[in-house]
Structures are given as structure tokens and as C-alpha cells.
């Protein structure tokens, strides 16, 4: 039973990270029906920016928590700025192009960003400082869950609650919902769709940066390639939950995290990813729009 709990909590941590990244995919997809392949790279850039900023700050001999408080917002700002810029360069000119074009553009952007960081920084794995504080009261539970995992789960939960409220109650949130349901009509009631799309990229990127900083601090190392694998998994999570649906992304992330964790624990980690993808295929075969997704209306 303890083993089950350990795997459950491990899956919860991993799933929370997937969910944080998956939100970016799902929001962008909801609004412009684009698989933003470069989103994983945004997550990586968030982590790298945090590494650089915290490295510079550490020179001043500041305490760990103050470094975290300064690093996280800067990483979030930079990731958002990258998300914003990418949309302007690689996706905005392609509005109205066939569906495949922005997707290819996104794959190209993903390759570009990976190599940009590779060339400007390094190919090697770099140690990432443990920015998350160790909580004394978690000491006794460290066998099943440690402080950084607790931080990840709590932050993810808080961020998701915040995002849900934002979408539900704010003016921009309403504009986002309206735009995702019918872009033309949203324009006709006066929504500035360009702004909404930019904002979607900004928010999605910010969430990815939070995920990037948390996970990097938890596992203690990053390189230019971390975004690719995390991105594919998060995207799988988004589709699993029903792409375009915000609660779906959260649920999809957790389901995927648990699947991988239990598959490793009870079967074999050799086939961890096989289980993840097989689950995806199965769910899509029986529910072609994902767990919480809605069947797309067939337009004639």
C-alpha cells in the first residue's frame, strides 16, 4: 500500500508538470487550432533563463529564497516574451493558410530554438541550483514525498485554479472563450482577436516557464533538449484530456503521469512510454476527442 502511495505521489508530481505545460498547448489549440510544437522549447527557455539569472544573482551571495523570488518572475517574463515573438514571426503570417503550414512552421521553430540555445550556451547538461527551499516538516516524509515535489504539486494546483478563475471571470478570459468558440463572431462583438491570441501565447508560455523552473530545480539539471521530450508528453496529455479544454489538460496531465508511474512501478520502465502512447491511442479510438473533449461539429 505504501508502494502504491509512493507511485501515486510520484505520478502526481510528474503529472502536475505535464499539466502545466499541457495548458499552453491546449489554450493555443483552443484559440487558433494550432499544435504549437515550439511550446516545449518555451519551457526549456524558461528553465535556461532561470539558470542564467540565478547564476548571476548567486554571485551577489543572496539567500536561496530571494534568488527564487527574483528568478521565477524573470523566467516567466522571458518565456512569455518568447511566446509572444514566436507567434508574431512564425504563426501570425500564416493565418488562413492550410492547416499543415503553421504546423511545419512550428516544428521548424522548435528545431531553431533548440539549436539557438545549444549554440549560444552549451550542449552539456548543466547543474541547476536547488532554488526550492527544503521544508523542515517534510523531513519525515521524504521517503514518499519531498519538499520540492510538494512545491510542484501545490504550485501547479494554485496556477490551475488561478487560470480557471481568470478564464471564467475576467474580460480577457471571456474574450478568449468567445474567440475559441467562434472567432468571427468574437470579432463582431468587438473582441480584438489579435490581442487575444497574443495573450494566449503569453499566458501559456508563462505557465510553461513556471513548470520549467520547478522541474529544473527538482531534478537539478537541464540542457537544451529537455523541452522536446517534455513537450511531446505534455502534448500527449493535452490530447488525452481533450485538446482545447483547460480542465482536460489538467486531467490529461495527471492521467499520463499516473499511467507512467504505475506502468514503471508494476510493469517495467522499459515500456513506460509505450504505455503512455498506447493509452493515448486507446482513448482516442474510443473517445476520438479525448476524455473531456467535445466532438467537433462537422461543417458542411
Amino acid at each position: 500500500m505504501e508502494y502504491f502511495l509512493e507511485l501515486f505521489l510520484g505520478g502526481l508530481t510528474r503529472g502536475s508538470i505535464y499539466a502545466l505545460i499541457a495548458l499552453g498547448y491546449t489554450m493555443v489549440y483552443g484559440i487558433i487550432k494550432l499544435i504549437n510544437f515550439a511550446h516545449g522549447e518555451i519551457y526549456m527557455i524558461g528553465a535556461f533563463t532561470a539558470l542564467i539569472i540565478s547564476g548571476v544573482l548567486a554571485q551577489f551571495g543572496l539567500p536561496g529564497w530571494s534568488i527564487l523570488l527574483m528568478t521565477l518572475p524573470i523566467a516567466v517574463i522571458y518565456s512569455s516574451a518568447y511566446g509572444f515573438t514566436i507567434e508574431k514571426i512564425a504563426y501570425r503570417p500564416l493565418r488562413g493558410a492550410p492547416r499543415l503550414s503553421p504546423l511545419i512552421s512550428a516544428i521548424g521553430m522548435s528545431i531553431f530554438l533548440q539549436n539557438y540555445v545549444l549554440l549560444a550556451q552549451t550542449a552539456d547538461f548543466l547543474p541547476f541550483p536547488a532554488l526550492l527551499p527544503e521544508l523542515a516538516f517534510m523531513e519525515g516524509f521524504s521517503g514518499i514525498m519531498n519538499s520540492s515535489e510538494l512545491f510542484i504539486v501545490l504550485t501547479a494546483a494554485a496556477v490551475m485554479a488561478g487560470l480557471t478563475a481568470y478564464i471564467k471571470y475576467t474580460r480577457m478570459g471571456k474574450a478568449m472563450r468567445a474567440t475559441s468558440q467562434n472567432q468571427r463572431m468574437a470579432m463582431l462583438v468587438g473582441v480584438n482577436v489579435d490581442n487575444v491570441i497574443s495573450m494566449t501565447f503569453v499566458i501559456g508560455s508563462a505557465l510553461a516557464a513556471v513548470g520549467g523552473v520547478l522541474i529544473a530545480s527538482h531534478v537539478g539539471q537541464i540542457n537544451f533538449y529537455i523541452g522536446f521530450i517534455a513537450g511531446i508528453k505534455a502534448f500527449t496529455a493535452a490530447v488525452l484530456g481533450g485538446i482545447g479544454s483547460v480542465p482536460g489538460a489538467m486531467l490529461g496531465g495527471l492521467v499520463l503521469g499516473w499511467t507512467e508511474s504505475f506502468a514503471t512501478g508494476y510493469v517495467s520502465s522499459d515500456y513506460e512510454d509505450v504505455f503512455a502512447f498506447a493509452l493515448l491511442v486507446l482513448i482516442l479510438i474510443f473517445r476520438p476527442s479525448g476524455i473531456l473533449g467535445k466532438e467537433e461539429g462537422h461543417k458542411v
Binding site: 503570417p93 493565418r95 521548424g108 550556451q121 552549451t122
Partner: protein, 416 residues
Amino acid sequence: MQDLKKSLLTAAWFMFLTFPIMVIRVNTVEDTIEWRWHNLALVGISAFILSYVWRYFMVRRERGGGKPQTDAAPPTPAWVSIVIEDKRILYPLLAAFTGFVASFPFLFSMYQTNIMISAMVFVMLGLGLNIVVGLAGLLDLGFVAFYAVGAYSYALLNEHFGLGFWVVLPLSAILGTFVGVLLGFPVLRLRGDYLAIVTLGFGEIIRLVLENWGAFTHGPSGIANIPRPGFLWIEFGLKDGITFMYYVMIALVLFTILVVTRLKYSRIGRAWLALREDEIACQAMGIDKTKTKLMAFALGATWASMAGVVFAAKTSFVNPASFTFMESAIILSIVVLGGMGSTLGVICGAMILILLPEHLRAFAEYRMIIFGATMVLFMVFRPQGLIRDRRRKHTLKKPDDTPVSGDAGKVVDAHG
């Protein structure tokens, strides 16, 4: 003046954007921080200049954008039409080209011949994927799975049963078709992007199985000593083997082109096209959607599988590292950059994407970043690819120049 202001702003923005990553290099292994201020200036200046270039092309694009998509290709340059119309120039040129292709292995080194074979393998893959993506409009991100099936079927059949290249080639075609149908059947009722992610998943699953099922596939250490094809009873040495493979590849590529071209203009080809344009209307016209899609999927898999056999024979070694998502992305780029649906486009795409990196070994570090940037720029400025697909048109009557308002609505929807 307006432009100058915009460009200055762009430059400032990019200087801000790239500041941490371009300027500061923190090496947490060595505990060093390196400030590279010259990069900041570099970014600023390049962003400033590039913003002008970008704007120039954007304006050109806007102007060109109004042109109808359905109409013929852009005007052919004068020299091309001269060459084509004057048979005195054309025939010798064609003869020279045929001669060049035929004598390539004798003109160039084994290395050159070998990478030419690589490029032709990718031509085959590209043409195969072109059926799926370019003609039928199904986005397949796991195409490399079928390529792996072909490569491993040759490696394993050869290892266990000693079957030769010529026996396995048709066998693998059948196997590829079979696997294509097997994987295609459950996923084809998914639409668009869902299909994309599921095919990506299948691609990964196949690679992971190859990697982990050591008892069957030898896992990551792979299978070595796969023989090159012989001719009847003749076994070749390395150099002659490569030369022979070159001609085998030429024949296979020609065969592929022939079949794909026939398919494209056949009944099923028109059904694919209809499917790509409008799935629902297609069903309404009585086209069996599942069967048509499955055909495309299976045929694509057939070619990929055959290309896999050639790959295994050429490299003489297979392991799962050759069948990653990156390969799928490259094949897809070949199709898209070359020009979706266009056979010649795919050939040019493969030649450029495979041969250029080989010849640019000196720029190895910058190869991938250029590759990524090119993909983006192509999509933005030349989405139809290098060579636009031109289909034979059946002009029954002059089309009415008044579109119905329903059509109009659809155009805007596409924008939306």
C-alpha cells in the same frame, strides 16, 4: 521614417529578448560567468537589418497574396521557356542529364555515390509520404515507423533465414502494406491533429519496441553485417556494390515515380484529392472514406518499407537510433518544402535536405539552426513549396465568375 522607427524598435526588442541567452553564459559546471556584450550589438544590428528584409518580403507577399491559388504556376522565366520550346537545346540537355545520372558513380567518388543513394532513399520516403500527406491530406508524424519495419524486416529475415535483398524487397512491401493497414485501421477515423499525434505515438511505440525487445531485435546494439544486394549469383565488392546499389536505387526511384504518377491521376488519386479538400462532400459523393484513407496509408507504408530495406542494405547495420521522430520530421519537411503533392518538388526537396547537410559538413554546428529557420521562412514566404503541384485540369466549361455566398463564407472561416 516610420520604417526606421519600427526597425529600431524591433532591434531593441530582440536585444532584450536574447539578452540572457546570447549575452550571459553561466557555466554551472565550471562556476564561471561569461559576459559576451559583443553579441548584444550583433543581435541589435542583425535584427535591425533583418526587419527591413522581413518587411520587404512581407509587402511582396501581400501583393502576391491576392493571386488566385487555383491558377497556373508563376510565370516561367524566359530561359526556361526557351530551353523547353527549342528542341535543339532541350534534347541534348536531356541526353546530357541522363548521361550524367547514368555515369555518376564513375565520375565521382564512392562517397558521393553513397550519399546520392541516401538522397534517393529519402526521395522514395518523400514520395511515399507524399501519397499520405500531399495527396490524401492525412498528417502522419510517425512515418518513420514503416521505414523501420522495412529495415528490420530485411535485417532479421537475413539474419535468421538468410534471405537476400531481392527476396526481402517484395516481402517487405507486402509487410509494409500489412502494417500500414493494421495501424491505419483503428486511427483513421480520427480527424486532423488527432491523427497526427496518434501516428506520432505509433512511431514512438515501434521504436521503443525495437529498443526494448532485445531478444527479437537485439535492442539498441542493433544488427550488423547486413549484405548489400547482389545481381543474380554475382556478389560485389564494396565499391562495385555501391555502384550497383546506385543503379538499383535509380530504378526503384523511377518505378516509384511511375507508380505515384499513375496513382495520382487515377480514380483513387482523385478520391484522395477530394478527401483532402472536403471530407464530408466526399462522402456525400459516395466515396468510401475509410477505404480511400486506408489505401493512402497502406501505399505510403509500402514505399517507406521498401526504402527501409534499401537503407538497411546500404548502411549494413540497423539500430533504433536511425528511426526517431527527427527522421519523421525530416521526411515531412521534404514533402512540404519540396511542394506538397508535387513529385518533382519532393525529389528536389530530398536532394536539397539530404545532400546539402552532407556538403555543408564544414558548417555542421549551424546546420540544424539553418534547417529550422528555413522551415519557418518557407512556410511564411513560400508555403506552396519549391515547386507547386500542378494537376492536369479537365476544363469542361468556363467557370462562372460569380461565386456563391456560401463559398465566400468558407473562405473567411478558413481565415478564422
